[in-house]
Point group: C3
Chain length 137, copies 3
Amino acid sequence: MKSATDYVWFNTAKKREYINITGSVEKLVAKSGIKEGMVLVSAMHITAGVYVNDDEPGLIADIDQWLEKIAPFNPHYQHHHTGETNGDAHLKNLLVHHQVVVPISEGRLDLGPWQQIFYAEFDGQRRKRLVIKAIGE
Amino acid sequence: MKSATDYVWFNTAKKREYINITGSVEKLVAKSGIKEGMVLVSAMHITAGVYVNDDEPGLIADIDQWLEKIAPFNPHYQHHHTGETNGDAHLKNLLVHHQVVVPISEGRLDLGPWQQIFYAEFDGQRRKRLVIKAIGE
Amino acid sequence: MKSATDYVWFNTAKKREYINITGSVEKLVAKSGIKEGMVLVSAMHITAGVYVNDDEPGLIADIDQWLEKIAPFNPHYQHHHTGETNGDAHLKNLLVHHQVVVPISEGRLDLGPWQQIFYAEFDGQRRKRLVIKAIGE
């Protein structure tokens, strides 16, 4: 069995951003030499997500508005008694999830034609980290 | 390490359908000869999901109504400026997620008594594809 | 390739509970001897979830209230024609998801500083089970 691991850092300009990280995942898979396996892409924070969808600006705006509607900013979350103000970012993380697992076939990401991997920042403007780990052979 | 991969095609009669694919996943696991490992079941489209739940028609109707309530069809999604009309299907995909990972133990899917694997189509009536990949030994 | 599997049983006092299971997952990873790999943590029921987030009581209360708002108890789910009353627990399971995959690096769970793994019970007060499976080498 082979494995390979990489970490990617982010420090977004805005509180919420959606960053296409497919290239970073492809790079690790190529470096790993794995032909058949799986790659795990996982945010290492509890206020950021990872998802697979289309890289289309209108859709990204729709996703952002939808997440804010379903899991809105609200000053009254109980979590805020700790001094935090990011309760909504935790709920957005739960909704989007913090990780995806992508198949590797014949040495490449086995994604459909429109599938792109995104890092979704919900509480940015500070350094945050993502882990990419491939296993297979 | 062993691996095995299969692709399953769908072309649903309706826009939204929920199809029990547990048998297809079991078949690949049996073919793979893997005794201990994991199997990834992943929609290759951005308007379809994969989930694990009960195969009970009333529940499936509840899930469909609930998804339409949380991520409704709406002509005004910004994604529709591209000419598409399926913005809701992208949001339903985000909610349900496009993939599950199921454990393989003693050569079989290690699911609980009521757990069944479903392909959830949110924008059907055309050919779409699912990838199933098992790794282990 | 190495693998290791464990099962954890729950029988919660309340209908809904959120239980930090990070220690159980760490124990299996240590026992497995795996240095580089992945561990799958998966509820074996269709009315329970597994997620990764912060172990902060205010946040857990927020999550519980939010899930009840998005996927509320409702006597009128069609699933209830079977005699069940737990339609909401199935929808909460869909929202939270029943499984996570966590990276193993240098023999340890490769989680961020605040990431803890939770079993989320949505229909408790009876015996239910979780599977933890690590693969790697």
